[in-house]
């Protein structure tokens, strides 16, 4: 129990510290690809620092829900980070390998809990922007959910449990034989979902404040100062966590510094991939999002059928 707590705490701290760096990396890459000078890779840390020193403006139309939501969001994300086994921690500190809680469905539901808080907060101020953001956030999340569950469950059939630690072990034992047709399809399905869940192009645009295009930014429009810092941090952490899940169901990470290095390299490469998608694709119309999610769901179904004929 104590070991799990310490591992969890370490994972959470790692996510807290590294998540803004990942965000900064992706933004920097994107700027380079678009021929801009762009902000420094450390800009997210500076942003957090800046927000945390500013004063705060709170709408008089809001209730306790609005004040509690940033705390709720960051809390659920931190606890989710504690549950989720981190390949980096496991690789660098073998003693902590396998000590994470790793119940994947609980992880998904914890993220849903944070989303629930934030969506309510979006409605609380009574502005149309907030309502629009909440409505669209729940819309994207609802459409992504069946594809997410299906792809995740297909990947878990071999382990026979929804425990990510056990799945990590199964992947490790299987080695590169893990890459079957069925699993490849499931990775692909998850990739689409990671893009949607992290609020990136082509589903959402993280860089805009134009009301017609925004989803997530609309929801948090009323926030400022330290509250905004908490929300931003939680959002970047969520991105870090989702990429963590995706990488560890895909790659058989072992232990030792080499695998820690491999993990960081792969994460950086995924960042390149996300920046490429953001630079070369336009945001799709909100009513085209179901097609993307449908495609992801179909990939999941194909993965299941591929498993079925094996």
């Amino acid at each position: 129990m104590t070991m799990e707590l310490w591992t969890g705490a370490l994972q959470a701290v790692l996510a807290l510290v590294a998540a803004p760096l990942l965000q900064g990396w992706i933004k920097w890459l994107k700027a380079q690809m678009q021929g801009r000078h762009g902000p420094s890779i450390w800009q997210p840390y500076r942003d957090l620092f800046k927000y945390s020193r500013k004063g705060e403006v709170i709408s008089g139309h809001t209730s306790w829900i609005f004040r509690a939501a940033p705390v709720g969001l960051l809390t659920t994300t931190v606890v989710a980070a504690m549950l989720l086994p981190s390949p980096l921690v496991a690789a660098a500190l073998p003693a902590m390998s396998g000590a994470a809680i790793g119940e994947l469905l609980l992880f998904v539901y914890l993220l849903a809990m944070g989303r629930f808080c934030l969506a309510l907060a979006g409605l609380d101020a009574g502005s149309s922007f907030g309502g629009m953001g909440s409505s669209r956030e729940m819309y994207v999340a609802a459409l992504a959910e069946p594809a997410l569950i299906l792809a995740a469950l297909v990947l878990m059939i071999d382990a026979g449990t929804t425990n990510l630690t056990a799945i990590g072990e199964t992947v490790r034992q299987a080695g590169w034989d893990w890459w079957s047709a069925s699993h490849l399809l499931a990775f692909l399905a998850l990739a689409v979902l990671v893009v949607a869940e992290t609020g990136r192009v082509p589903v959402d645009n993280p860089d805009t404040h134009l009301e017609l295009t925004m989803i997530h930014e609309g929801m948090i429009l009323e926030y400022s100062g330290p509250s905004l810092a908490l929300i931003q941090l939680a959002v970047w952490m969520k991105q870090w966590l989702l990429l963590n899940v995706w990488l560890q169901v895909m790659v058989p990470f072992g232990q030792g510094w080499m695998f820690a290095g491999l993990f960081c390299l792969l994460l950086a490469l995924v960042g390149v991939g996300l920046a490429l998608v953001e630079s070369f694709f336009a945001k799709v119309r909100i009513f085209r999002v179901p097609r993307m999610m449908g495609a992801s769901l179909m990939l999941g179904v194909l993965a299941l059928l591929a498993r079925f004929v094996q």
Binding site: M1, G55, S63, P70, G72, S127, S134, T165, F287, L297
Partner: protein, 685 residues
């Protein structure tokens, strides 16, 4: 006092409560509800005693010639449902004692509510076909009476008519099912009926089970025979709706469990998959209609359809697992179904009671006309908030625990179906059902069941996410933002009695959310009652790595026996973790605010420089629009228009054709009688 005595006391108190309404007005309402509450407590303890000791009792009432002895029996399954009914009866009575006075015909409603509990108790306690049918019919009629308490309004009358018509259609199938078996068995005792059912040839058994599914499914509100539910439930008074939505559908599910698990021993895999499919369809359609609905109580009624669907999905998973020979997964899934039944009973009554409080305070039913109530009605808002968290399956509240368990059962069915070489106990009886279907027997039904179970799990994920969207919409438009009508602006918090009733139910929701093992412990006697020796405790399964663990040592595969000692975390540990982290985060936030040296400034919501008007806000309709458009294909098939209308039209046309038979001429009638007599003499004896 023994459980039997307590149960009889409960019946006596219910009847007394019903009669007490013959006295003076104000006092009678209070007295009726007080007696209802006492009866609730008495039966609650009675059920708890049976669940605790694990010994069933039965009571012979009187002998009735062709049907044998009329018997009441409380076994684990019945006790579980009595516990739910009586547990909810107490807060409902408390709420009603203050709420009913403002409703139409309060005396009539109080009397019928007491009688309703007598009927619903008898439904689950009856151990004999004729008593069951009588109780079933009384339950339908008494609830119709409750629905029709505002019969002056034409939509209420229409709802009452649809309810009565559907409920009798369903009743017909139940009568057919039970009386056919009674004739076969020679007496109406349930044990004899179970034997008779097992003795039937497979085809007849299949038809009988389909009749039972249709009959009981109508009363449970399964799609497509749910159409009465969203009409009848919302037009009743809020505390009556709570009882109807939270409890009455459970009475049908009780019988469904008894018949499909207790009586039928093996059924075709196709039928098990049909149950799973019907559950999935109900859950999806229910949540879609709830999402696009803007009447608060109708939305809650549709959400009942959804939750009944989830329960039936778990039942389907249990049936598939049983056909595949997975005894442990069967127990787990059935336990999930029962637990979700309990949880739904709690959070749906909570939501209906708080919707009643909202209506009492604002006189508005339409969510698009509400808003901002969290300021004037903080207690009701908190109650509705907890109910919303529960129904949306958010961790730490009870809905999550059972939804998670249902997902896990579906996953296990799928993983075992696709993974037969995992060292699991898949017995030789795998294809027992498949052989019944001749040509299809070459198909590996376990594998098919596995694939379909995983697809159902994905759809359950969709249902959960849509339910979350639906209740963000409901809570957001009713309680947050600016009030959208005069009624909402002038709303005031409801009296303390009503708040106390909501607090009781909200407390129960949180209790089972933090201690799901307590709820699972309650389902064990019910599992033993229907599954017999193959039942295994969900708590033991949990220790074995299957079920309610949130982590176990890696490589510890389910049911492989190698349970890891320690390293098991209950959800309350997660709750503790969340609490500690939340305090930390809040402390950091406070610190940051303090350090910035500026207190938060209160200002207007940013609205591009224009004054904020309630009409600019997103409301229930606009919130749901993107999802309505994306999932429009669900709504395009209107059950009423495409299924019922042609049927009803056909029936009317047929009646039109038959009309000449009724010519009104006495000679023709006499010749009919003569012809009938002749036919009887020729063919009858």
């Amino acid at each position: 006092m023994s459980s039997q005595t307590l149960m009889m006391t409960a019946f006596f108190l219910f009847l007394l409560g019903s009669l007490s309404t013959l006295t003076r007005r104000m006092m009678a309402i209070r007295l009726g509800h007080a007696l209802l509450m006492m009866a609730g407590l008495s039966g609650f303890v009675a059920a708890l005693l049976v669940l605790w000791s694990g010994t069933a009792w039965s009571l012979d009432l009187w002998s009735m010639a062709p049907f044998g002895m009329i018997t009441l029996r409380m076994d684990g399954l019945a006790a579980f449902f009595i516990l739910l009914f009586h547990g909810v009866a107490m807060p409902v009575a408390l709420f009603g004692s203050s709420f009913a006075a403002g409703e139409a015909k309060p005396l009539w409603q109080t009397a019928l509510l007491n009688l309703f509990f007598v009927a619903i108790d008898l439904v689950v306690l009856a151990d004999q076909a004729i008593l069951f049918l009588l109780a079933w019919e009384s339950m339908s009629l008494v609830s119709t009476g409750l629905v029709l308490s505002r019969h002056e309004e034409s939509p209420v009358r229409h709802a009452g008519f649809v309810y009565l018509a559907m409920t009798h259609l369903a009743g017909g199938f139940v009568v057919l099912f039970l009386l056919y078996l009674t004739v076969q068995a020679g007496d109406g005792h349930f044990a004899s009926l179970a034997e008779a059912l097992q003795g039937q040839v497979p085809e007849v058994q299949l038809l009988l089970l389909l009749a039972a599914l249709l009959g009981l499914g109508t009363k449970a509100g399964l799609v497509p025979v749910h159409i009465w539910l969203p009409r009848a439930h919302p037009v009743a008074s809020a505390h009556v709706s709570a009882v109807m939505s939270g409890l009455m559908v459970k009475a049908a599910l009780y019988m469904l469990i008894r018949v499909f698990f207790g009586w039928a021993e093996a059924l075709p895999m196709a039928l098990a998959l049909l149950v799973l499919g019907v559950g999935t369809l109900s859950a999806l359609a229910g949540v879609y209609y709830a999402l696009v609905e803007k009447d608060l109580k109708r939305m809650l009624a549709f959400s009942t359809v959804e939750n009944v669907g989830i329960i039936v999905m778990a039942l389907g998973a249990a049936l598939v697992a049983r056909e595949a020979g997975l005894a442990e997964v069967t127990s787990l899934a059935l336990s999930a179904a029962l637990f979700h039944g309990l949880n739904h009973g709690l959070f749906k009554s909570l939501l209906f009671l708080s919707s009643g409080a909202v209506y009492r305070a604002s006189h508005e039913k339409n969510m698009d006309h509400l808003g901002g109530l969290i300021r004037q009605m903080p207690a009701t808002a908190a109650a509705f908030f907890i109910g919303s968290l529960a129904v949306a399956g958010i961790p730490l509240v009870n809905g999550f625990a059972s939804e998670w368990l249902t997902l896990q059962s579906l996953f296990y069915v799928g993983a075992f179906g696709l993974n037969a070489d995992m060292g699991m106990a898949i017995g030789g009886s795998v294809n027992s059902g498949a052989t019944m279907l001749g040509g299809l027997s070459s198909l590996n039904w376990t594998l098919v069941g596995g694939v379909l179970a995983l697809l159902a799990a994905a759809l359950l994920g969709l249902v959960g996410a849509l339910a979350a969207a639906c209740f963000v919409k409901a809570f957001g438009t009713v309680f947050l933002a600016l009030p959208r009508s005069q009624g909402a602006r002038e709303a005031r918090e409801v009296p303390a009695v009503m708040r106390a009733a909501m607090a009781l139910l909200a407390g129960a929701c949180v209790f089972f959310g933090l201690l799901p093992s307590a709820g699972l412990r309650l389902t064990l006697p019910a599992l033993e009652a229907v599954l017999g020796p193959t039942a295994s405790s969900p708590l033991v399964l949990m220790d074995q790595g299957l079920g309610l663990i949130f982590w176990s040592a890696p490589g510890n595969l389910p049911i492989s026996g190698g349970a890891s000692a320690g390293s098991q975390l209950m959800i309350y540990a997660v709750a503790g973790l969340l609490m500690v982290v939340a305090l930390l985060v809040a402390a950091v936030l406070t610190l940051l605010r303090k350090r910035s040296g500026r207190a938060p400034v209160v200002a207007e919501t940013w609205n591009c420089g224009l004054p904020l008007e309630p009409t600019m806000e997103y409301n229930a309709t606009s919130f749901a629009t993107p999802l309505r458009l994306a999932l429009g294909f669900v709504g395009r098939f209107a059950v009423e228009r495409d299924l019922y209308r042609p049927f009803a039209d056909g029936l009317l046309r047929l009646a039109q054709r038959m009309r000449p038979l009724q010519g009104g001429n006495v000679h023709i009638y006499l010749s009919y009688i003569f012809a009938t007599l002749l036919l009887l003499l020729l063919f009858g004896r």
